[in-house]
Amino acid sequence: MGDRIIVGISGGVDSSVTALLLQRQGYDVECVFMKNWEGDEDEFCTAEEDYKDALTVCDHLGLSLRSVSFSQEYWDTVFKYFIDEYKRGRTPNPDVLCNREVKFKAFMDYSLELGAEKIATGHYSIIDESNSGFKLLKGLDPGKDQSYFLYLLDQDALSKSMFPIGGIEKIDVRKLAEESGLVNHAKKDSTGVCFIGEQKFFKEFLKKYIPTNPGLIETTDGKECGKHDGLMYYTMGQRKGLGIGGGYGKQEAPWFVAEKDLKRNVLIVAQGHDHSSLYHKQLVADQVHWINGSVPENLSEISAKIRYRQADQICEITDLSVNRCTVRFDKPQFAITPGQSIVFYHGNECLGGAVIENRSFH
């Protein structure tokens, strides 16, 4: 039997097919279901059902499955940060941190302790081993590429990881699952933050952890036009849920969140998707991380994504220190959001990224 690989299995189709493919390739495959959340939030969380799906799949494939709790690690390294960021009025990306701290640290350590050669997950990305080290490449399926969420990985993590479905299109992953009789072949992709589940629960969830602080909504010219329930509930560029009738203002165009004035607890909105206050050409980001461990040699001809699934945007790093960078885009960017990550690419290669601190018009 081949090397022992421990697959992090979620109950979804991607990680299930990951296990299936490795098993077919002759590896000694074992599966682990990570339980990263505990408490009375069960109403929001689908972990129980997901575990049952994972168990059914593993039983079908004849693979062992263990459920392991990393909820303490998740709470300490991901959730506390998540809440702190919201308190600062920012929109954090917990999945990026979960990958670095839980999946590619706690779970990886656990798996290595159990004698695994490597771990595997169902991420749509490709690890390319070259003379200069391990490169993280975009997944083959352009609609599914998940390198954005993996930019915080380092050489050590990449050297001990496998992404077997990175070179396959989602439609073929589902086909493989169906052909192999996996019960979850048509299961809906998960969306939203993993411990909250569907977006509609978001407000209710956040309320449990952060006191609400309602305030006023003003237009970019300082006119009061409504009330908000708390700045944390809104994110840059948000359109829905502002409670400003289309009739307010001169035209019928919808309103968008343009800025949060934390000092005055005022939400600032702009009318129309093309409103200039929604666009910025430059941003400053910190917590800079490079996948290869140091500043890449060729930083010209790079592009970046400031949110998951965004098309690559041509940009230039105009200022760079160990921890901070200033990035200037070719074209103004809609709703640059503090707390989200900017991830850098050179062609198909994910170079690393940073957390957006603030933005400016010029």
Binding site: K35, S67, S69, G115
Partner: protein, 371 residues
């Protein structure tokens, strides 16, 4: 596949299985029906009831069939809601089938005193006596613990309950078939039993209720089980349980000496292979074949997974808690540190285990946790 987790559940005894299959194939009648098919089914159930009553020296009318030990516990505890005396005394090492129920009952006006245990997992009868209040309506203390195998000074505890005229319940699911147990010796008012812990089927158990003690039903409908438990009876399950109890009672001394022998082999080899291993529990008052061992410096979930790969099945804590290593509340109550707690495995042997298997097990442990 060597299975060392008999306190979680046991494989079904071939004779039990045969009995259940015979019943399931041949007798489908509803025991409440008056025709021949119904009468036959009723007779099967009553025969099982008699067998069980004989085994624990009770009267058949004192045996109430349930859907398992947890249900039997629940019946007794929920009865407090209608009792005038709403205080209960229990111990800190009870199964969740007691402690979680009491948490649920608390907002409904049931107050609860949870007695501490000593470092061997035993309740001090003097402390029980001190905890009794004027409104104490029930004392519920398990006879033997599922995680460490410690047996309580049950007769003394019952003596105190009797002195104060308080009903005494004992969760005895771990005990039947492992030590002598009859209501002549153990004068508890209620005892909960489960078939699958003694080579019987899952999903069936019984409650012993001393004549004259009151009990409210949890499941209401038809008048089955003397109006104590509605629902058409699980005929094959009940007959299988009857057979399992009969076998346990007939073979008790043989089973006990087998378990003692396995335990001796285990401990002798363990001392040789794993020098730092610590055995938890009470050496003098102990269920043979249920052994809790801490391997300081090793995490129990890793050890468990490595043994599992070899097909050796053991558990950490109680089976219901598996999936993560939450420190066991039982070990915690015994004053065991968190670091030792999460390095603890439970081995529980059974009638199919051999000395050779046990030696193999300890060899594997020596390989994974020697240091």
């Amino acid at each position: 596949m060597p299975y060392f987790d008999h306190s979680a559940t046991t494989p079904i005894h071939p004779k039990v299985l045969k009995k259940m299959m015979d019943v399931a194939q041949q007798h489908f009648g509803n025991p409440s029906s008056v025709h021949a098919s119904g009468r036959k089914s009723k007779a099967i159930i009553e025969k099982a009831r008699r067998t069980i009553a004989v085994a624990i020296l009770a009267s058949p009318s004192e045996i109430i069939f349930t859907g398992g030990g947890t249900e039997a516990n629940n019946m007794v505890l929920w009865t407090l809601i209608q009792s005038e005396k709403k205080h209960i005394v229990t111990s800190s090492i009870e199964h969740p089938a007691i402690l979680t129920v009491l948490e649920k009952l608390e907002p409904m006006g049931i107050s609860c005193t949870v007695l501490p245990v000593n470092d061997q997992g035993r309740v001090d009868p003097k402390i029980l006596e001190k905890s009794i209040q004027s409104n104490t309506g029930l004392i519920s203390i398990m006879m033997a613990n599922n995680e460490v195998g410690t047996i309580q000074p049950i007769m003394e505890l019952i003596g105190i309950a009797q002195k104060h005229d308080i009903p005494f319940h004992s969760d005895t699911v771990q005990t039947l078939g492992k030590i002598p147990l009859s209501v002549q010796n153990i004068e508890a008012d209620f005892m909960s039993f489960s078939a699958h812990k003694l080579y019987g089927p899952k999903g069936v158990g019984f409650l012993y209720k001393k004549r004259g003690r009151s009990l409210n039903p949890l499941i209401i409908g038809g008048g089955q089980e003397g109006k104590h438990r509605a629902g058409t009876e699980n005929i094959s399950g009940i007959s299988g349980m009857g057979e399992a109890v009969r076998l346990a009672s007939e073979n008790l001394s043989k089973r006990m000496s087998h378990l003692e022998a396995l335990e001796t082999v285990f401990i002798t080899h363990l001392n040789r292979e794993c020098h730092n291993a610590v055995i938890n529990g009470c050496p003098n008052h102990h269920l043979s074949g249920v052994i809790s061992v801490s391997f300081p410096g090793y995490k129990s979930d890793i050890l468990l997974a490595k043994l599992d790969r070899l097909g050796m099945e053991v558990s950490n804590g109680s089976a219901c808690g598996s999936g993560s290593i939450k420190p066991s509340h039982v070990l915690e109550a015994m004053g065991i540190s968190d670091s030792q707690n999460i390095s603890t495995l439970r081995f529980s042997f059974g009638r199919d285990n051999t000395e050779k298997e046990v030696i193999e097990l300890v060899k594997a442990l020596g390989q994974f946790a020697n240091g």
